[in-house]
Subunit: 306 residues, 2 copies
Amino acid sequence: MSVTPRSFHLIAPSGYCLNQAAAFLAVERLRAQGHQVNQTAIIPRRDRRFAGTDAERLQDVNALAALPTLPDIVLAVRGGYGASRLLPYLDYPGLAARLREQPVALCGHSDFTAIQLALLTHGVKSFSGPLLAGNFGAEVVSDFTVDHFWRALTSPEFTLGWQTPPQNVDVSGTVWGGNLAMITSLVGTPWLPALSDGILVIEDVNEHPYKIERMLLQLAQSGILARQKAIVTGSFTAANLSAYDNGYDFDSVWTLIRQITGLPLVTGLSFGHDRDTVTLPLGAHGNLKVEGNQASLRLSGHPTLR
Amino acid sequence: MSVTPRSFHLIAPSGYCLNQAAAFLAVERLRAQGHQVNQTAIIPRRDRRFAGTDAERLQDVNALAALPTLPDIVLAVRGGYGASRLLPYLDYPGLAARLREQPVALCGHSDFTAIQLALLTHGVKSFSGPLLAGNFGAEVVSDFTVDHFWRALTSPEFTLGWQTPPQNVDVSGTVWGGNLAMITSLVGTPWLPALSDGILVIEDVNEHPYKIERMLLQLAQSGILARQKAIVTGSFTAANLSAYDNGYDFDSVWTLIRQITGLPLVTGLSFGHDRDTVTLPLGAHGNLKVEGNQASLRLSGHPTLR
């Protein structure tokens, strides 16, 4: 697949990238494909477990509002932890104004979800997709992940398809979500998008089904799930069930959430911390269907690179 | 220390008790001291990872409203997970009315925190203290824990004292809190007490400092810490820091929370999942002081067994 050369601008608002080699390998690979990659000097930046001090990491994001020339793609180096500390200090009006001028693809996932959803409360759409180190710097890069990334960033409309157990679903709404722990950490704060027609797509890593259930119960009990049209579940990586669970598993969670919310909950999207992950435009219009055991999510209305 | 014989009534609203021997040993020990222990039939009850179905676990609590004779002490068998599923279905008016008739000590911690705080939103005070299996059934029972338990339940006023780094603190307010993950899971729901003068006491187990920080940031960013007079930190058991943290630790968290909230944050109370834990009356009036490196918390206004 031939790809138009693009300009990448790196940001590191979350955790220090322990696998420095992976991040630099990713840069090398992107440059070998003809892309520009700027801001590589932030890759080794470190303050304790963070990718720099709060001020440095904040400036990575806020500086976008004042860049003389906007890049095509703003890419987060990695996840981890650290975005939550920055939320009160992001330049929301400045970023919203500047990023309206030209389509820019802000991309990342995991901890970055907090910043993406906070920006979405100010109308800034972004992409829940690959990170520099974990995805573009993987030992073996996933073609699935890379193909879906470029497709999402360059197609004004595209459709994701996957296998799922049969149920009757045909709903339209605003697609949002990402890492469930980060979404849940925004409940009660000013930075959780108050969508009335959400198609909520969730994923997580290293979280037991009971913790996922507790997070979804919090979203239900705080009235957030009542404003959704549907839930789509992605990957729940490295969950470590044990004999103590005794039959309790993710399917138990999905069954309970369907029961208490009455919402369609569609499982099986390759989205999250697994090697193969789709890129989802957050804030896009979505049409979610299940026909037989084929699920589809048609997406439109997101920023598109020319 | 000689103790008046009391009637214990067991409830199991959370996880299945894997260590059945510990729970039955606890019952045996309490009976050997002259106490009555009722509802022991629920100890082996199990549904997957839960201590029974939702209906069974719910009935443990709701049945208290209709008991012909109230016990002195209602004791949770263990923590784990399961209370969150019951919150919408608790008989709050019935329980509040019945438990006003006579002082009853509802006691437990960990997952039970959710039920305790939900009841507190309806004016029902309870005790964050030992669990049947983990504390009274421990291989070697902690005298510290047992002494503090009886002291809290039988003293109309008592004072906890502990060592802490010096700072100037002298505040009064309503003592509440418990397990921080459970407190945070109530943000946005109807079951988080909306206290305007809280002294928030927190503890947790198996949670890394960055997760504790993220929870406290959520409480800060949702306006809850702005309504507190002070924060007291208990035990943070089994947190598993690593080389990646590179100097980031619980002290980093406390420093940040002091900075962003301006609140006194007093560390070092023996409260939580460690072997030695005080029993804290939730909803009691508290006066928190630090003089030199001596902290004290005077408690009054809680239910007291005669």
